[in-house]
């Protein structure tokens, strides 16, 4: 009996001390695994939710990579909020992220970014704007960094390609009726006018339009040799389908913001020209879409800045972001300039092929 009692006591003592030692070891380990929270504001249930979800998947992929690398010395946790691509929901999403004590922020889409820029300035949160091409974005807050291909270089490249490579002097612009479309129109018109090209007609479609036959009839009536379409995804697909169905035979050009609905593009998008980075997001072997890739890069950039910052303060992280030069990404080495614009190794113009592949037509 005594032996049993002694044995039990030994078991209890081993359990108590062993458990405590395990607990202490775990506690010490968790202290070294610092958790850094990054806000991720994306459209998860609005009209652009397919792109928003793709962006989120890219950010999550980056978090997985970072958390598996001990050299960072911290782990990232995303505070994911749905802004529905609407101004009012962006505000509440931003407040929820702030309540989560985030140290960095990624916002997807021009409209939410433009809405939140003054608040980002006030809250002093180093922020990366992904899937947001609007020209003004970095100038609206000292804390806002670009994480996307922006309007001006694309507009310049398109204008130059149309004028000099295609030899076209008269184009029509077909754009989405919002700030995104206006911004592209302004930049492209200016660049094209500088090359002595003429915009013969500007027509627009609203974000919910899928039937654009009337606008296309007006464009065809002006007989431009090229039509530049600025918009998102299905709106652009509808515009291009209708142009082709109505017998338009000139060149059609657009930007990568439109190139998400692969099924449509593969069957109907043949011959369309579009600006692009070196990343071929239409290649089925590349698992990440364009939105996912930029959110992935944005998250890596923020993590890199947090790693390189002298302390945990927002000022240090912001400075570390500004100091990023030649950072290795699947798009090549990228840097930030003093205006917080992202500098890419190169922008290309590609042409969609009938089999769904793309061909580089201008480097």
């Amino acid at each position: 009996m005594k032996k049993i009692i002694v044995g039990l006591c030994i078991v209890v003592l081993v359990a108590v001390f062993g458990g405590r030692a395990y607990y202490l070891r775990k506690q010490t380990k968790s202290e070294t695994d610092r958790i850094i929270k990054i806000g991720f504001l994306s459209d998860l249930s609005g009209f652009s939710s397919p792109s928003g979800k793709e962006a989120l998947s890219g950010a999550q992929e980056a978090v997985k990579e970072i958390n598996n690398k001990p050299e960072y010395g911290f782990k990232i946790k995303l505070s994911v909020q749905d802004h529905k691509f609407l101004a009012k929901d962006s505000l509440s999403a931003f407040k929820k992220a702030l309540n989560d004590e985030i140290q960095g922020l990624i916002i997807m889409g021009s409209v939410p970014v433009l809405t939140l820029a003054p608040l980002v300035e006030q809250a002093k949160i180093p922020t990366i704007a992904t899937s947001a091409a609007n020209t003004e974005i970095p100038s609206l807050s000292n804390w806002m960094f670009r994480g996307w291909i922006y309007v001006k270089p694309q507009a310049d490249l398109l204008a130059d390609f149309i004028k000099n490579d295609l030899g076209v002097n008269e184009v029509a612009i077909f754009k989405i009726k919002n700030q995104f479309g206006d911004d592209y129109e302004d930049n492209f018109s200016q660049a094209y006018a500088n090359l002595e090209g003429k915009v013969v007609l500007t027509e627009s479609f609203s974000i919910s339009d899928t039937d654009v036959k009337s606008q296309v009839a007006k464009i065809i009536d002006k007989n431009p040799k090229a039509v530049v379409v600025f918009g998102f995804e299905h709106g652009v697909a509808a515009a291009i389908d209708t142009l082709k169905e109505q017998g338009y035979s000139g060149a059609i050009l657009t930007t990568p913001d439109a190139m998400v609905d692969y099924a449509i593009w593969k069957s109907k998008g043949a011959d369309v020209y579009f600006t692009s980075t070196t990343w071929d997001f239409l290649d089925p072997n590349n698992k990440m879409s364009l939105h996912a890739m930029f959110a992935y890069i944005g998250t890596l950039l923020l993590a890199e800045a947090i790693k390189n910052a002298s302390d945990n303060g927002a000022d240090s992280i912001r400075q570390a972001l500004l100091n990023i030069k030649n950072f290795d990404t699947p798009l090549g080495k990228i840097s930030y300039d003093e205006k917080r614009e992202i500098i890419f190794p190169k922008l290309l113009i590609k042409q969609m092929q009938p089999d769904g592949t793309t061909k580089i037509v201008r480097e």
């Binding site: 249930s45 039937d211 082709k244 109505q246 449509i264």
Partner: protein, 293 residues
């Protein structure tokens, strides 16, 4: 000139589609006294039925179209037996039924968004063949839209004039209380009206979905256009609904030509306000005698 003619042709096709939608709305509004907001939801349902059969289940287009019509008839019957008829039995006011109808539309819209997402779903992934007549371009689907919808509108108009069942259904709008008094099967007539309304929304909705795709939030704008065509043409005039639909669509085309395509939805609202203010009985509707008012 070619541009104006092209826009008028587009307007004619649009007019035929709107005429069918106007009938779908007008029949229920006139005969059952229900402001049929759920029609917007039915429009969305049709599009997604068609999308499911063609794009997800890979059925041939004619079989998918037949199944879509059948599924829409069933959805209409469920709407009538689970929502409209119980309210009618309780003698609920038209305001209450309208709210219930709005509720049905929101439920359909949200359920579809939950199941399929908010983005546009394309049914056809190929370019439509285009026919050119004297420089005027019409796609194959536009031809189908015009021929099918215009024929359906004319055939139903003739049925309402000649067929006794349809005559009763139409007359119910004038004297709804006389139907049971005369020993006519009220419930069956109600079901007939809802079935016809469901078919008349299924035709344009399936064709539009095939042409330009479908997304969960388009129902309300089509419902609005259909209701404006009914009020514009005259609530008591079947042929007036068609006239209202064509004039509305042609006005939209002219605005598109003179200004820009982005202003066409504004025309719908302007016409609605104008009609409600100055010609409440509609373009060819008879003004009521003082004692009728």
């Amino acid at each position: 000139m070619i541009l104006l003619l092209q826009l008028l042709i587009n307007g004619l096709v649009q007019g035929a589609l709107v005429a069918c939608m106007a009938v779908a709305f007008g029949l229920v509004y006139r005969s059952l006294r229900i402001f049929h907001i759920a029609l917007g939801g039915m429009f969305i349902l049709v599009g997604y039925f068609f999308y499911t059969f063609v794009a997800l289940l890979h059925l041939s287009t004619p079989i998918a179209a037949g199944l879509t019509l059948l599924a829409t008839l069933i959805a209409g019957a469920i709407l009538e037996s689970c929502v409209y008829y119980p309210f009618a039995k309780k003698k609920s006011t038209s305001g209450v039924v309208m709210l219930a109808s709005l509720g049905v539309m929101i439920i359909i819209e949200n359920t579809i968004a939950l199941l399929f997402g908010n983005n546009v779903k394309s049914i056809s992934v190929d370019l439509e063949p285009t026919y050119i007549f004297y420089g005027l371009k019409v796609t194959r689907i536009q031809l189908y839209e015009f021929l099918i919808c215009a024929s359906a509108f004319v055939i139903l108009g003739l049925l309402i004039r000649k067929n006794p069942y349809f005559k009763v259904a139409w007359a119910m709008g004038d004297q709804p209380r006389l139907v049971p008094v005369m020993g006519l099967p009220l419930q069956k007539i109600r079901q007939l009206i809802i079935a016809v309304s469901s078919l008349m929304i299924a035709l344009p909705a399936a064709l539009i979905a095939y042409d330009v795709g479908i997304e969960p939030h388009v129902g309300m704008s089509y419902l609005l256009t259909a209701s404006v065509a009914v009020f514009f043409g005259g609530i008591d005039k079947y042929w007036g609904w068609g006239l209202g639909a064509f004039i509305l669509a042609l006005c939209q085309s002219i605005v598109s030509w003179k200004f820009s395509g982005e202003w066409v939805s504004m025309v719908t609202f302007i016409i609605l306000i104008f009609v409600l203010l100055f010609k409440p009985s509609g373009l060819i509707g008879n003004s009521k005698r003082l004692e009728e008012k």
